[in-house]
């Protein structure tokens, strides 16, 4: 029988299988590596960069880097946490994220990971982009102010729902999520509340209507436990995902 392959995640020894990424093996071992665009149900994307680790001295994203035998991965040092905090701050100033007024507060992965990395302020100059809210759909609302371009809805709609309702347009800081319908409005697409794409958003961009604040702030998923213990919001019961 071949010897079990392992790598070191900080001080812990993590076993892995052929083809595993650092993230795959860490998740299986119950080790938390902060992330936003990664969801184990989908092909790794590598765009948010929040899962940056130092593997044998090289900065890589844990969700895309293949695990290698005897690799030494730094996931917890101050230097790595500092990079993640900066990436989160960049995400915060790029969009319009107003946690106190957000329906997703307490069950938002962006907010939870920001707390985890000890982010105390957005630090950078806000871009304050002019973005819209699309409430044209009967059951689902989309607030583009909160989109972080993780493309999970794009991937879910394309790969699971087979509807291709979301895609990305523009380039650079003008890159943005768009809806594939004649009018560009969600209400004119064939999105339904049971679509996978509606249940993968890590932030408060895609929200089901008619049930805001069912669960009061203070009792939500990340109000009770840190993201490092409970993981992705998408992996939890629907009631926890929204207020």
């Amino acid at each position: 029988m071949p010897e079990q392959q392992t790598f070191k995640l900080d001080s812990k020894t993590i076993p892995f299988r052929d083809g595993d990424t650092i993230m795959d093996a860490a998740l299986r071992a119950g080790e938390y590596i902060p992330h936003l665009c990664h969801n184990p149900e989908f092909t790794p994307h590598g765009s948010c960069r929040v899962c940056v680790v130092s593997a044998n001295g090289r900065h890589v994203s844990a969700c895309t880097q293949q695990a290698m035998n005897d690799m030494e991965v730094d996931n917890r040092s101050d230097a790595i946490m500092d990079k993640r905090r900066n990436l989160l701050q960049m995400l915060f100033v790029e969009g319009n994220h107003v946690c106190p007024g957000c329906e997703k507060s307490g069950a938002c992965q962006l907010q939870a990971v920001a707390y985890y990395t000890n982010m105390l302020s957005p630090h950078y100059t806000h871009f304050f982009p002019k973005r819209s809210v699309d409430a044209s759909h009967a059951d689902i609302a989309i607030d583009f102010n909160r989109c972080i371009l993780c493309e999970l809805c794009v991937r879910a709609s394309r790969d699971v729902d087979r509807k291709n309702i979301f895609s990305i347009s523009g380039r650079g800081i003008k890159a943005r999520l768009v809806i594939n319908s004649d009018t560009g409005k969600l209400g004119d697409s064939d999105l339904t509340a049971t679509d996978k794409a509606v249940h993968v958003c890590p932030v408060g961009a895609i929200l089901p209507k008619h049930r805001g604040y069912d669960k009061p702030i203070g009792e939500r998923l990340y109000d009770r436990q840190p993201v490092s213990q409970v993981g992705d919001v998408a992996a939890h019961d629907e009631d926890d995902n929204h207020g």
């Binding site: 790794p44 590598g46 765009s47 948010c48 960069r49 929040v50 940056v52 900065h59 994203s61 895309t64 293949q66 990079k83 900066n86 990436l87 960049m90 995400l91 100033v93 790029e94 950078y124 100059t125 871009f127 972080i148 371009l149 291709n164 979301f166 895609s167 990305i168 347009s169 523009g170 380039r171 650079g172 800081i173 003008k174 890159a175 768009v178 809806i179 594939n180 319908s181 004649d182 560009g184």
Partner: protein
């Protein structure tokens, strides 16, 4: 070239092939000055691509538009070399004459004027594109003529021919260029010679010659070709990266113009070696003027049996080449983004590994090489590894074409053996009182005079060929500002650090340039550059902060003299911001002003 022929010479794609989306869009843009909604809908149904995705592709490329551009669509090349030659004054001049605002279409739809990233005419700038065709050597007189031609609505085909004249500008030849100096047109004998050695033998010769990729990364060509050949596949592809977008580079333009046959010989050699039957030349949209010439060269070779079927009389050796046009996206020079673009999509770099050499175009093994690399490969097979190794250093054999522009008497193409010092290059091209040389483009290195004894080589200063000279009258901060704007414009937007960081850097450099920055902002620059360098998804993001990093290290004085002697300064003029309040309250005395 006759601009009327542009649309007909872009290959009309077959129905239903989604990889040809971008080529359809380029053709439609040329025909209508924009992509009408009807065209998006038609393409969506015929190619089976969602309309939003097609609009996403249009929105990605600078040369494609969802709303009409002017009948005469003018794009000024906006590189630092154009600025140094006075392009910004000329833009003001032209827009004033035509009564049009930069970035907008004139009310009557006649003309639009905007800027675009470096068009690769740096040694003969300032330059512009009119309906994608290059006009160089701009001066006030030429601008005046252009304004008149537009007002009189003169068809582009009737504009003075000398406007569209592109110089070769070869100033110095070494072994590569001189080996081709006498070459004329298609040569059946040359191709027979190239195809006579066994593929293994070709790989051994290239290995022995030590040929490394000329795009700048310097990967061993023999290893790349061998890995591609050794990967089991139904189909393999040969792709020529002619998306020469690095600001300050223009040597591929000259090679394509003058040595197209040698390039295609190199691609055919590669196809024969790796067992490929299909090739592509990905030609940057800025080089549209070369399209007709390249198509003619391909056709000539097909007619002579040097391309297409049973090449050179070798039964079963079939290989043909299509040209795909880019549409204004620097990132497509990155090989995996280029492949995405070649497949008709937005040019977003792929995760690597797997590398294109095993999973490239249509997920098949693909060799992507620079124009200069393919040409060097064919010349090595013709003249031998020893000939090639006779020039250069142990780790960097052969020669490199440099594209020299900026402050010197004789800008142009210079071929040097690797290992040549910057000092010698500067002497040869007539550069005086040089403050700095920017080598390898916007993402390259800024070399101060005390380092002019360093040399051009993979082991020292590696470059795809861009070499921009700044004399001591220049403010290098102008260059930094130009490059940070360039990267903010060209970032594909996929990953957080590059998408957001490049815009943050741009804004900070603008603040500094305007004299509003303090020491706090210098620390901020440092902070952002480190995040971009360490966490970006691809090489563009990782190297986009280089102009800032390089100058902060080598020329800190350009920052120091700009900063206010306070820790922090706001990005705006506080006193001026109070003007509205003064107006409203009718308080205009000294108490209503903030002392600066």
């Amino acid at each position: 070239m006759d601009p009327g022929k542009i649309t007909s010479s872009i290959q009309l794609p077959g129905p239903g092939d989604s990889t040809l989306l971008l080529q359809h869009l380029v053709r439609i843009q040329a025909e209508f000055n924009y992509i009408p909604d009807k065209a998006v809908a038609d393409l969506s149904s015929s190619l089976g691509i969602p309309a939003a995705e097609i609009r996403g592709v249009i929105d990605f490329y600078s040369f494609l538009h969802l709303t009409p551009r002017g009948k005469y669509d003018i794009l000024f090349s906006d590189s630092i070399t154009d600025h140094m030659l006075g392009s910004r004054e000329l833009i003001t001049d032209l827009t004033e004459k035509l009564g049009v605002t930069v970035g907008e279409v004139r009310g009557d739809g006649r003309v639009s004027v905007d800027t675009t990233s470096c068009t690769g005419m740096c040694e003969q700038g300032p330059a512009l594109l009119v309906n994608r065709l290059a006009i160089n050597h701009l001066d006030q007189q030429r601008i005046e003529q252009i304004a008149r031609l537009i007002e009189e609505d003169v068809d582009l085909a009737d504009w003075p021919k000398e406007f569209f004249q592109i110089d070769d500008s070869i100033q110095r030849q070494d072994i590569l260029l001189s080996s081709m100096a006498s070459a004329t047109g298609a040569s059946p004998d040359t191709l027979t010679t190239l195809l006579s050695p066994e593929p293994d033998n070709v790989l051994d010769i290239l290995q022995d010659a030590g040929l490394r990729g000329r795009g700048g990364a310097g990967f061993m060509t023999a290893i790349k070709w061998r890995s591609c050949r050794d990967t089991a596949a139904e189909q393999r592809y040969v792709v020529c990266n002619a998306d020469e977008g690095e600001p300050g580079t223009f040597k591929d333009r000259v090679l394509l113009q003058r040595y197209a046959h040698q390039l295609i010989e190199g691609m055919t050699l590669c196809a024969h070696t790796i067992n490929a039957s299909k090739g592509y030349i990905y030609l940057r949209g800025e080089y549209l003027y070369l399209l007709e010439h390249l198509q003619a060269v391909l056709q000539e070779r097909r007619d002579l049996g040097l391309l297409a079927n049973n090449i050179s009389g070798k039964a079963g050796f079939d290989f043909d080449i299509d040209i795909h046009l880019g549409a204004g996206a620097y990132i497509c020079g990155e090989e995996s983004a280029l492949i995405e673009s070649l497949e008709g999509k937005r040019g977003i770099p792929r995760k690597r590994p797997p590398f294109p050499v095993t999973h490239g175009y249509k997920n098949q093994p693909t060799v992507v090489n620079n124009v200069e690399t393919f040409i060097a490969a064919s010349q090595i097979i013709l003249h031998g590894a020893e000939w090639f190794k006779g020039a250069g250093t142990e780790q960097s054999s052969g020669t490199k074409l440099l594209s020299i522009s900026g402050d010197c008497e004789r800008p142009g193409i210079y071929e040097y053996a690797f290992g040549t010092s910057i000092r010698q290059v500067l002497g040869d091209c007539g550069a005086h009182d040089t403050l700095a040389v920017q080598i390898a483009g916007a993402a390259g290195v800024t070399i101060p005079s005390e380092q002019f004894d360093r040399s051009i080589a993979f082991e020292d200063i590696s470059t795809g060929g861009s070499f921009i000279i700044f004399n001591s009258d220049r403010n290098l901060l102008d260059m930094v500002q130009n490059f940070t704007h360039f990267f903010a414009h060209e970032s594909c937007g996929f990953c957080t650090p590059c998408r957001v960081g490049s815009s943050l850097l741009k804004d900070l450099i603008d603040k500094l340039h305007a004299g509003h920055a303090g020491h706090y902002d210098i620390n901020e620059l440092n902070r952002i550059t480190i995040i971009m360098r360490d966490t970006s998804f691809c090489g563009l993001g990782a190297t986009a902060p280089n102009p800032v990093i390089q100058t902060l290290t080598n020329f800190p004085e350009i920052y120091e003299r700009q900063v206010q002697h306070t820790d922090y300064e706001p990005a705006f003029d506080l006193d001026a911001a109070l003007e509205e309040a003064r107006q409203v309250t009718h308080c205009f005395g000294p108490e209503a002003h903030i002392k600066s």
